[in-house]
Symmetry: C2
Subunit: 411 residues, 2 copies
Amino acid sequence: MNDTKLNPAINLERLKSTFDVSSSIGATEGGGITRLALTKEDIEIRDVFVKWLKEANLSVKYDDLGNIYGRREGKNKDAKSIMIGSHLDTLPKGGRFDGIMGVLTSLEVIRTLNDLNIETERPIEIVNFTNEEGERFTPPMQGSGVVTGNYDKTEIYNLRDKDGITFEQSLKESGYMGEIENRPSNVDYFIETHIEQGPFLEENQKSIGIVQGVKGSKRHRVIVKGKSSHGAFPNSHRKDALMAASEIALAIDETAKSYKDLSTSLGVFDVKPSVESITAESVEFTFDVRHIDDHTKDEAIEVIKSKINEVASRRKVEVDFRQTWVASGTYFSKEILDEIEKSVNSLSYSYQYITAPALHDAKFMQDITNTAMIFAPSKDGLSHCEEEYTSYEDIEKVANVLLQTVISLSK
Amino acid sequence: MNDTKLNPAINLERLKSTFDVSSSIGATEGGGITRLALTKEDIEIRDVFVKWLKEANLSVKYDDLGNIYGRREGKNKDAKSIMIGSHLDTLPKGGRFDGIMGVLTSLEVIRTLNDLNIETERPIEIVNFTNEEGERFTPPMQGSGVVTGNYDKTEIYNLRDKDGITFEQSLKESGYMGEIENRPSNVDYFIETHIEQGPFLEENQKSIGIVQGVKGSKRHRVIVKGKSSHGAFPNSHRKDALMAASEIALAIDETAKSYKDLSTSLGVFDVKPSVESITAESVEFTFDVRHIDDHTKDEAIEVIKSKINEVASRRKVEVDFRQTWVASGTYFSKEILDEIEKSVNSLSYSYQYITAPALHDAKFMQDITNTAMIFAPSKDGLSHCEEEYTSYEDIEKVANVLLQTVISLSK
């Protein structure tokens, strides 16, 4: 399929060996990686990454969040750049692919441009964002969050890990503290490749997911307050908070069926007193609702709210309902999506449009530049675990699409 | 209604003042009592109780469980006795009535027999059983449990409270350690009066509950094992243990509607990991099923089991199901029940037959002698709480029925 006369193609063997190096840094016994932001392991992959950037003749910079950039100049030095990349950090016992794939395919694209002596009109920049996972320091996406104005730098600097070390201190000690001037500027496009973290590409047997945007989410905390009874008290006369919460939980799950691409989930679910033969006095639970379209999301939440009220009134329990987090849905750049689709078609890969269910650095980058993502299939939809798997065949295709798209957009 | 010419009647003012004394020992600010077995408060009420027994010319004994007996001899010294009573201990912030009513109405019956110079054919014995509530030392009904052969004495003696004090030590220190010879023997009938601990007498506007028996119960522990997903993972593809457990919980609750007088309840309900935006990996819960008829109970459990299997298979979760406790249903003595009904009718009180939903000392006493219970209405069905309330009007009626029944059975 990859007719190199028509389509430039990446070097899969080289990309594999790059993955092998990455997979060996923070490797877990179960075949995953533990490489939390700015830890020893993260610093080790950063050092290797910088070496690779320099070997590819890129000029390397770090900004004041520790984001690492490698720049390949274009013919037109004043042209705005195309930025590609993702993040190299992982969760504890995370996978070998996730955002790593986004960085390594980007590196492979640049190496291929070098191999083929392709001089692009625009500069191409590769980026590794700091602490996308948000495990050592929470929230996630800190590197991209600050440089896009979504997070306050002082707040991020003052975050402490479980040992009391601040983000700022760990960044300084890592050797990757750079200048504020090095943050992204004059960027016209940002493209991030990533594994899907969902089952749809695999199920539909598609190699490429053209990501039209990112689902927004609204999170809620609900307290259902009933009245405990002895287990011998007649069922008909109880105000059993667990029965009310169970009905509500099922209704929230069911609501996902009513809207295409809507997802809902319950997370926290704490029953009190949770002792044998005493029915529940109260249940506190959290739930989220995710959809790219904010209106659809709000409509679903209204459906859930009225179900909650109906259950509360019928089961004679009280309900406290609070919204705790809002993230709007994000639509990516139609211009880039069209270019990606053209590239996929020229390579004759199977593809589908898809919505990113979870957040990525690209979600923030869309706030400052034209952005899009390309997904590779995840086996069984798994991610953030040692079993996470994406085949090299699929990674190669994504890398080729990225290469082609970068070349097109650079014209 | 109480024509004393025809029916001997108890002295309500005296009974009230007896309650007042009891209610003052371990009194809580909220109008209840905290009087755990063999604590300072329990010893104080025991001392008062023994004084009352002696003032009523009863011979007083304690057995090796600390059960206190007061004996009023009958005309026929060789005749087997009628035993009446219940327990004076409470739960933390328990109510003023509960089993206390059983002991104090029994005392009032004996005082009335004394007042009216009624010499019964049989001896009448009053009993206060030790640690019916089973809060300081678990399980409940220890005094009656050991003397009826349901519990092993050594095991009970070795139980420790939260401060590490054994039952045996606390019994010795209380001054109420007596002789094994003093356990119930030559008893032909045992009658316990108690508050209903349920809503039915009040709802049906009946003064007297003739308790035909005690529901048996079977308890179970269920572990539902699914697979955690990120909240962004599509609902349709999850193995959400919480959704499966919610369905099962509702089905268990619903089953109570299918059989008259069946009750079911969920107690423990622990969801893991119970963190925001991560669906449940597992839910461990306990449930019980109560009915007087063991066959009905087993049939209901089979219905629940097949529902659990159906849900598990449809939701692709694994279920571990264990039975952890069995107590058979108990049918009380038809002979006593008939006498109670005759007494109620002669007093023209409203009544209904009822099944005790929870366990009582009488449940164990039925193992060694003819037994029955008489219930008084509980306001709003509440018990084991400071709000527990039964009117003196209703207590008086129960005491009169007990008096009449004792006189009849003594003939």
